[in-house]
Symmetry: C2
Subunit: 456 residues, 2 copies
């Protein structure tokens, strides 16, 4: 594509112009599903040690409390709330995925938008509008540089997410086009986050910081703090500096007509998306054969090289590390039928049965196998061999979770944290997002009282 | 160099170990000069519109006030104070320069360290120690990736500065080695900032945000928020993702023996460093010839291509833009003998005499001319031709500013903002940094009372 000089401005014009009436009903519905899934993840992760430590470090720096930490109830300023909710929504690696780019869209965008909406008393409908626009911006910018940008080592959820958060919050603050351009420029210059951080607490920091920095970009622009007019496309702007691929048609082509936000998917399993076909297949094999761990001779997987690259930890030591181990995941799925957060705990990773079985998992990589597929051969000690071919896993765009499955996932995460009763109330409130007078009804409904916790 | 896996840890060990007794006296003295120069710049920029707008946007998000905005007196939390002082110290493009990398070292490091020192009641000596270590870390990391990293479009003051701020604040918080490693990892994943932002308010945001994010990295690590152990050197860490050059010997070689912090230089002119030889030469020509603007036929410059690349604005419209115009700078130096902040105002850039003269400035680029040199040919209407060859400009490492010149620069910036009397008091306090019981004596001395302002 020839050099363009109007990408940032054209995108800003669309962001400012895209009222909810211009968003198709089906995209709005997917937006609500995105919101509900994100909220369940944020509640599910709310009591994680990672969140505790971030609060320990940063609460002292919060401004006047205007917004609520989901599932906990601490009140912080909107920017710190965006950070903390972004961390908690990602810490279980259970959030949503834009499969074309492996962006987890809601973490940066919904975390920023809800915290800001609560601060300013904004309606659920406006929040939904802003969130969908933010997710669209984030995924399109991701598409424009993927895969080179990701292959280089950028954690695209953070690098693209900061634009999505800026766009969403920019809408909530009703920025004009020039200020929206500046907000995108401020986002561009804060686009960062390295894949090296995977397997540490800092991975979850990425969507949180992208939410916080994107929101700050919008507030700065609102105050007239100016920036480049070509933050995305300039020779020393985001796309050229952070990628060798720059396809601006991915950003501007069909804008408002085709929707990346409608392609969002929701993980049924609490780990890296590339292991999902393996877990899906191993759970199916468990259900179909009922084999015990001591009957297994070997579990042979044929998978895309990315599977080992991203999740090749053979001997994970902690629950967190086990999310990056296809070996542990396969063993746990076959023995326990579990791919939920309870499959990735310190208990599970140190279970002698699972340790023994994961050492019987062998992975052959083959670039001809699709990233979203796997071929599994289960060899038993009695000589039987059972094959299972997973073309696409549950939760993929081809086999999306139903609303009922999203609800079940929500309850599985949220009920242990805030109690079953509050969990149901929160879920009901979340589905009603488009009609809520204030988006903050959701955050209020996420916070347990001492009585509710005692009866949980 | 072969792949190394201990760069971040070895650096962290040195940071933790490097008490003031291990810093040579001459390096300490340069550290004080760095501090004084930075402080003058921060006071000089304190009332700039860029600072006003940042405060307008972000004061609402500040936590409990523990630290002081230099030269103004607003009190904010330490992280926001670091941001604002980082912005004000850079906004006049008058701050210090590590000439090997064009890093402006003090902005990220001193802004973070002083705000945190004030919050915790830390002594001037400890602040000086932390600042020198932080500058050393920042410049060495810069050296390891320069020039490729900068050429690619990264604003190295921000990308390297965040490490320096993390190191300095990590020392003030007395992090152990493991936590210092995490702080550097958190800094690595926040390393960003694009050169595209030059000429906008967002350029000054870079050292400020690097200060704020580096300090936050140290606070997070102190609370046990973990990160990569190889944030700098991992295949998907800072150096590999943000550069094609990775020379880790620049980071670890001679650590504690040779000092990049001793190579800091201080700008005599309030603009991009590559124009300094031109301004120096034109001021000399003015003093030697006494020519008036209407006697000039042409000013011909032969300079390194970087000069036009960085400062090639032919028709700057604002004071800010004029800092990136070698044409305006040459004209203003020849007519007014001025390279101080008053040379780069909206008034100066719109002066008809200077507009006419800058159009007579012609630049020939030649890669064989050193970046720090220039050949000037002044052609007069009466047929005379006067040549001036500037090998190195005043303020360069070869021709450093004396303490008296640093003081004159300080007064030229600070007195108009806080009054001459307070300016003298502040300067005296700043030079005494190593013996101050509390570093915050400096910030207190920088704030004018209404009475002082009225008599200024």
């Amino acid at each position: 594509m020839a050099q363009r000089t109007d990408v940032t401005r054209a995108l800003a014009e669309w962001i400012v112009d895209c009222d909810i009436a211009k968003i198709p009903e089906a995209v709005q519905q997917e937006g609500v599903r995105t919101f509900v899934n994100w909220l369940g993840c944020a509640v599910g992760g709310a009591r994680h040690e990672t969140v505790d430590r971030a609060l320990d470090a940063l609460t002292q720096f919060s401004g006047a409390p205007t917004s609520t930490v989901i599932g906990r109830g601490e009140r912080l300023d909107a920017l710190h709330t965006a950070l903390i909710n972004g961390i908690s929504s990602h810490v279980l690696d259970y959030d949503d995925t834009h499969l074309k780019t492996i962006i987890h869209p809601a973490g940066p965008v919904a975390s920023a938008a809800l915290a800001v909406a609560e601060r300013h008393g904004i309606s659920g409908r406006e929040l939904l509008n802003a969130m969908i626009v933010g997710v669209e911006v984030e995924c399109r910018i991701g598409n424009s540089v993927y895969p080179d940008h990701y292959d280089r080592g950028w954690h695209i959820t953070g690098t693209a997410g900061v634009f999505g958060a800026a766009a969403a919050v920019g809408r909530l603050l009703k920025l004009d086009v020039q200020k929206m351009v500046w907000a995108l420029g401020l986002a561009a210059t804060q686009s960062s986050n390295l894949r090296e951080m995977f397997g540490t607490m800092t991975k979850s920091f990425h969507p949180g910081r992208a939410a916080q920095n994107g929101a700050a970009s919008a507030y700065l622009a609102a105050a007239g703090y100016d920036s480049s007019n070509q933050g995305i496309e300039a020779p020393r702007g985001f796309a050229n500096v952070l990628s060798t691929k720059q396809d601006y048609n991915e950003i501007l082509g069909g804008l408002g007509e085709t929707w990346e936000a409608a392609l969002n998917s929701y993980k049924p399993f609490a780990c890296g998306i590339v292991i999902h076909p393996t877990i899906d297949g191993c759970i199916q094999l468990r259900n179909e054969t009922g084999v015990g761990a001591n009957e297994v001779e070997a579990i042979e997987l044929r998978a895309h090289p990315l599977v080992l690259e991203l999740t090749g930890k053979r001997e994970p030591k902690t629950g967190l590390e086990s999310k990056f181990s296809v070996f542990h995941s396969a063993a746990c799925a076959l023995v326990r039928g579990d791919g939920s957060p309870t499959a990735f705990t310190d208990e599970a990773v140190n279970d002698p049965t699972l340790i023994a079985l994961r050492r019987k998992v062998h992975v052959t990589t083959d670039p001809n196998v699709h990233e979203a597929s796997v071929d599994i051969v289960l060899k038993l000690k009695d000589g039987r061999t059972i094959e299972k071919k997973i073309e696409r896993a549950i939760g993929s765009h081809e086999k999306p979770l139903s609303n009922a499955q999203i609800e079940a996932k929500f309850r599985g995460q949220a009920a242990p944290v805030i109690g079953a009763e509050l969990c149901d109330k929160l879920l009901a409130t979340a589905w009603k997002l488009p009609s809520l007078g204030k988006a903050s009804e959701v955050t209020a409904a996420s916070v347990p009282t001492p009585v509710q916790l005692a009866t949980a």
